[in-house]
């Protein structure tokens, strides 16, 4: 909770198309200095007349503490609904209000263990920065990038620079191996004797990554993407059932207690078809006939 966060009037300095995504660079003084890999920013959308009040959250792809423009933050955005469409339509010098950095970063291992970083679609965005931090600590780093199709892969070239090995999968076989990241992950973990698997991407993928990591003796650290109204911990919309050290499952806020969770702590059994139920054994779960 004491982690530093700022709200700044940011400005777009670049917006370039990368495959199916837009890579935005924002001037956002103060964010870079506080940020760590795995954290995110929450961007206001639509300008002063906007009917879209809620911020949109994006993993920090990279930061530059200072430079020609003051500190910058990069994000990779998939145009989807009105907010992301507005963001991806911005031009240089347009204003964007930025709140960040938010959430808990990926925990770094104390020892130089081998790590596998798994990204699904734009989920790879925060991993390159993480890879660097891990390599600085002497970790062997491999990346596994997957997507539906080639245009939805992000950062394959950058991955080759940031990691000691890269495996690519696509659902349709348009790049790399045809299939899912989980199909190849076990082998990579085994080959590198990885101790930690970091993953960011859709829920289904995070669940499989958690299963594969466990089966191959690694710990999974997954960055989840729950629907968030505030991003700063005040609204309770972004909760997930996560089991604590005490063995008790609580509905915890993924914006402040996540977005990174130990995969084996997430109650995947409660998550299905776009709905996350409250497990019956969760603290304060509804009882028949009311609470």
């Amino acid at each position: 909770m004491s982690a530093g966060v700022v709200q700044v009037a940011g400005e777009v300095i670049a917006n370039r198309r990368v495959g199916a995504y837009h890579h935005l660079t924002l001037v956002a003084p103060g964010v870079a200095e506080l940020a760590h890999p795995g954290q995110f920013v929450a961007l206001a959308v639509g300008g002063p007349t906007s009917a879209n009040l809620l911020r949109r959250c994006f993993s920090i792809h990279k930061v530059k503490p200072s430079g020609t423009y003051g500190g910058t933050v990069d994000v990779v955005v998939a145009a989807h609904g009105p907010g992301t469409q507005w963001l991806t339509g911005l031009s240089a010098h347009d204003a964007v209000d930025v709140v960040g950095p938010l959430g808990r970063p990926f925990p770094l291992p104390a020892e130089p263990v081998a790590c596998v970083l798994v990204g699904g679609g734009y989920g790879s965005a925060p991993l390159f920065w993480l890879a660097e931090a891990l390599r600085e600590r002497g970790c062997h780093v491999e990346m596994v990038l997957g997507a539906a199709s080639e245009d939805r892969l992000f950062g394959v070239v950058e991955a080759r620079r940031s990691a000691d090995g890269v495996t690519v999968t696509t659902d349709d076989g348009s790049a790399g191996r045809r299939g899912w990241v989980s199909d190849v992950l076990g082998d990579v973990v085994d080959r590198t004797s990885a101790g930690v698997v970091y993953a960011c991407g859709p829920m289904g993928m995070l669940r499989s990554v958690t299963d594969v990591a466990r089966a191959h003796g690694a710990v999974a650290q997954v960055a989840v993407e729950e629907s968030m109204a505030c991003g700063v911990g005040v609204c309770m919309t972004c909760v997930m059932p996560v089991t604590g050290n005490d063995g008790v499952t609580r509905m915890v806020r993924s914006c402040v207690e996540g977005p990174v969770f130990r995969g084996d702590r997430v109650r995947w059994d409660a998550i299905e078809g776009g709905i996350t139920r409250v497990p019956d054994d969760a603290l304060g779960a509804p009882r028949p006939g009311g609470h």
Binding site: V5, L53, L54, M236, V239, G284
Partner: protein, 319 residues
């Protein structure tokens, strides 16, 4: 500098701007953006007797100039609240309006009893009874939809809260006659009213063709509902001015995003204003609204905030 103090049923606050219950958690998160003690009062997330997990997710849907939420009153329960949250707020020097609820009228009483016993009780400047929540004993009908249920809750809460600490009843706009509910609450002993809670709404996910919220219905809030909040305040304050309802302070809430928005509620009769959903757009919103409201007071050439409370009733043009 304008005098921004406001008096709520005998309790003086340095300024009239508050957080709204459930839109600011219990303070620690917003304190990263501004000191919570700078607000007139900090309104806590509604606390119930036991810990509550809240509802399944999705719990929110964005709507045009607003949102739906169905949090389901997630919270740690009154004991943890008294142990952790209230003392933290007290330490920051915040003035706290504690929002309480129960599944039954009796449970409201139990929650208040434990609250009053808290060592940090002295930071409490009022209790807000969130009667816009379902009454398990009455087929889940919201207390504030029914004058009799409203009365019962208010009576119990008022009995348990020590004299000198005001009790506010928080009303839902989803009723045919909000003046009747206001009247019932005030006659039952409420020292003031908070208006409004959210409006019941549904959003359908047009891809999945099912309700977007896991719990189907949710509460609509944000600037979209401000005209309804202003109207509710106006109607109740009009009735007070006409003498048909006991006179009491009204805390306005609903769609406030700027100082001008706050002024709308104030001119309609609110002597304090809560900022809810706007906080999700701008974590500085409650603090910023205070600055902007001060500027409005100055712009209107009055020296005291209090001079603007209900002013629109006097300036109304009768046709």
């Amino acid at each position: 500098m304008a005098d921004m103090t406001t008096v709520l049923a005998g309790v003086e606050l340095p300024n009239p701007v508050m957080t709204a219950s459930g839109c600011a958690a219990n303070g620690q998160e917003l304190h990263r953006f501004f000191p919570v003690s700078e607000l007139g009062a900090f309104v806590t997330k509604t606390v119930m007797k036991d810990p509550r997990s809240g509802r399944a997710t999705p719990r929110m849907a964005e709507t045009a100039s607003g949102m739906l939420n169905s949090i389901g009153l997630q919270g740690p329960g009154i004991d943890v609240f008294c142990e952790k949250d209230l003392p933290w707020l007290a330490e920051q020097g915040a003035r706290v309006l504690v929002s309480v609820a129960g599944n039954t009228a009796e449970e409201f009483g139990e929650v208040v009893q434990r609250l009053v016993a808290s060592p940090a009780w002295s930071c409490v400047v009022g209790v807000e009874a969130n009667i816009s929540c379902p009454n398990v004993a009455n087929r889940g009908l919201v207390f504030a939809c029914d004058p009799v249920s409203s009365e019962r809750v208010v009576q119990i809460v008022r009995t348990r809260v020590p004299d000198g600490v005001p009790v506010f009843a928080k009303l839902t706009p989803d009723v045919t006659d909000i003046v009747a509910i206001a009247d019932a609450a005030l006659r039952a002993g409420a020292d003031g009213l908070t208006m409004i809670n959210t409006l019941l709404g549904i959003v359908i996910d047009t891809d999945l063709l099912r309700p977007q919220l896991a719990g189907t219905t949710g509460g609509l809030s944000g600037p979209a509902v401000r005209p309804v909040a202003v109207r509710a305040i106006w109607q109740v304050v009009s009735a007070m001015r006409a003498g048909t309802v006991p006179t009491a302070p009204v805390i306005g809430v609903g769609g406030v995003r700027t100082g001008k928005d706050a002024l709308e509620l104030v001119a309609a009769g609110a002597c304090a204003v809560q900022v809810g959903t706007a906080t999700f757009n701008d974590p500085h919103a409650p603090r910023r609204v205070l600055t902007e409201l001060e500027a409005e007071v100055t712009r209107h050439g009055v020296t005291r905030f209090a001079d603007l409370v209900g002013i629109a009733h006097e300036r109304m043009v009768t046709l």
